[in-house]
Symmetry: C2
Subunit: 258 residues, 2 copies
DNA sequence: CTAGGGGCTCACCCTGCGTGAGGGTCAACC
DNA sequence: GGTTGACCCTCACGCAGGGTGAGCCCCTAG
């Protein structure tokens, strides 16, 4: 009923060493050992391995794969279809990214054939900076396929470097307004702070996705809960993450109340 | 006229550390240093970096990128269009692979919804085993876009595991014929050896691409020249690579002569 | 003349395995 | 019952491609 490492390796097209490794890090522990210590994989293990390889092929680090699959193969997972659908989304997203790269390449080739030299900054538009992808997959992991995420991805995918630059500057301005409100000692529910929060919401609307007050509050909570968001605010000024959160909440409450 | 590391990093969307690394390994040495030792990148350097990132994004190891770009940015390269076209091919190939994965996933999902459980072996058909891609990119690097390569890629892309298995067995049979001819002490231009060589050619024709005698000889030379091919034959039996080569050549000569 | 925002060179850390070394296990054949 | 060969086991080091300091120089602005 159980397969040995070598068999599994042959079936799945991975090396024995990889299977040892997955066992070591707890990603895939064979459900049994023979009396002599040989690993013995049953068909549930094979299914889990299949998923592992699928996510791995999509470029996920093994830690994340472990998180996605849930602890030790038992129950914590989310059903086969869930995984299949997620993988499907990730794949089609990735195809879309590559297709954008192809189009960009074709544009570049045309330009080149016309003898037009590209300005060095333009060159880096899409190619190379594949961080967007990575970020997209991060986002996917956290936010699943919400409408907001999809809209944001769709919109931002067509931004050029110049757009990003303008966006960045606008972001900075928005943040500055919040910082100066905080530095001036104004409470988070002061009109100035709330105005800045509202400006923040509008900014999101302009660049990424239409952000209702409710969603805005959700986002604010994430600013406190997710260390990466928290850090990016705390790096600007200490206490800013909390302040932004409070200002957003106050603003949502005020506009909701009247 | 020159950009500093930090500037280049910002423009290209990579970290300063990565640029240091590329300098260290000789992949991208800035064309100059300031008197105080600062790296200074000119626009040729930026262009090279752009290509590096393009290939890196396609998953090439940095060593290979270096080989593709030729020594130290000078002259050895192959012109901008060449790179653009190669990247274009690689991208579209990769898209094709991903699309196959998507189709496979959809099939799996359908099967699952119908309540059909997949046999564990079937599961691993495409997903996970992304070696084919890797091999394809290897092949691409060596053989460029010959017709034979494209045909082979096109055909083999539709093979299932069962096909691969049958193919493998056939390969083994062909090899066995060659080995036993060699072991029996028959010279490489004996009828038996030549027949085995001809069988080898037919085998390629059945599974991969139509292989003329001329191409067959070219392939034979590669069996001696490329250590990976050589090894795979030498692993079967010592001297086999040479023997196969000679048999193929003899066979080509004989059929060509009469 | 001093603070800060770079830049420089070590140098160690991390992931995802590859690749032995040194040694048990198991089925088969003698 | 002994040997052989294919597998299996557990260390344990190595490698790519950087991340992340540490400790120190440089350079411009106030």
């Amino acid at each position: 009923m159980g397969h040995s490492v070598g068999e599994v390796a042959r079936i799945a097209g991975v090396t024995v060493r990889a299977l040892h490794h997955y066992d070591e890090i707890g990603l895939l522990r064979p459900s049994a050992r023979t009396p002599s210590g040989y690993r013995s994989y049953d068909s549930d293990d094979l299914e889990r391995l299949h998923r592992i390889l699928a996510y791995r092929a999509l470029g996920f680090p093994l830690d994340d794969v472990a998180a996605l699959l849930g602890g030790d193969g038992g129950e914590a997972g989310e059903g086969a279809l869930g995984h299949l659908e997620r993988q499907h989304r990730l794949l089609t997203d990735r195809i879309a990214v590559l297709e954008r790269m192809v189009r960009n390449l074709e544009k570049t080739m045309d330009a080149h054939r016309m003898g037009i030299r590209l300005d060095p900054h333009e060159m880096f538009e899409v190619f190379g900076d594949h961080d967007p992808t990575q970020h997209a997959e991060e986002a996917e992991r956290r936010w699943g396929d919400t409408d907001a995420y999809r809209e944001s991805a769709r919109r931002s995918s067509s931004y050029t470097r110049a757009d990003w630059e303008r966006m960045r500057q606008e972001t900075e301005a928005v943040n500055q307004a919040l910082v100066s409100a905080m530095r001036s000692g104004l409470p988070a529910d002061s009109p100035a702070a709330m105005a800045a929060a509202e400006e923040h919401r509008a900014h999101l609307g302009r660049w990424f996705y239409d952000c209702s007050r409710e969603m805005h509050v959700g986002l604010a909570e994430m600013y406190l809960a997710d260390p990466r968001f928290t850090r990016s605010y705390e790096d600007i000024a200490e206490g800013l993450a909390r302040y932004v959160h409070d200002a957003i909440v106050a603003n949502a409450r005020a506009t909701g109340a009247e």
